[in-house]
Symmetry: C2
Subunit: 119 residues, 2 copies
Amino acid sequence: MQGTGSDDERLDKAFLALADPVRRSLVARLSRSSATVNELAAPFQVSKQAISKHIQVLEKAGLITRSRDGQRRPCHLAPAALEELTSWIDGYRLAAEARFRALDRVLAATKSADHPEHE
Amino acid sequence: MQGTGSDDERLDKAFLALADPVRRSLVARLSRSSATVNELAAPFQVSKQAISKHIQVLEKAGLITRSRDGQRRPCHLAPAALEELTSWIDGYRLAAEARFRALDRVLAATKSADHPEHE
DNA sequence: TAAATGGTCAACCAACTGGTTGATAAAATA
DNA sequence: TATTTTATCAACCAGTTGGTTGACCATTTA
């Protein structure tokens, strides 16, 4: 349900893409509206080439798509790719939380056996 | 509500920690139960030292915690840290999706003005 | 056509990553 | 005490990352 490469490769690229404050800022900006490279580069101190590289990292990770508008190459956020990441994380987070809740219940049961509250 | 460092630094470390298939496997394994370094290293071909390094990356990212049990140092998943990541992603994902839905409504309205279905 | 604008390519560099091996610390066990 | 088990530290290496500058392509505009 996505571009080329194994699941692992896509997750590698996507998580790596988000492991940089500049690229996270680009994602945040693009969540408000699509934008060109120049527009995206404006708020940053680094060169336009550096932003162009960041954009390529995001694109290869599938987190953004690009279109053509004359000489401009607008960038658009790809929410489905973000959703893949939260799904991956949540699968394991929810499993761990369920396990901890089960442990809490056992501890509570043990404690109420030591110090019964009724009976 | 978390260890040292700015939000950016913590997100950097956490996303970078997940941008590696070995470390994601460790997270998956730890979502089932806590485990020691030896237990975590067993399924992999790489050296125990390499796994120890991966564990340190996860720990510095706040994704796992460690305890003492004699000479063992069991690792435990930290679901709250995972939740921080999904929250970050979902904030921007949901904003973008809402924007796209709004655009869809506009397009639908335009189309029904061109080709009115009733009246 | 000439010039300006939007964006990328290529080469280079310092810093970091993930892996290795060997030595070592620290706790359990003989 | 001597040995084994668990885990980490230190040094090193090849490959990658994020940044730079300068040249270049492609499109719009004068």
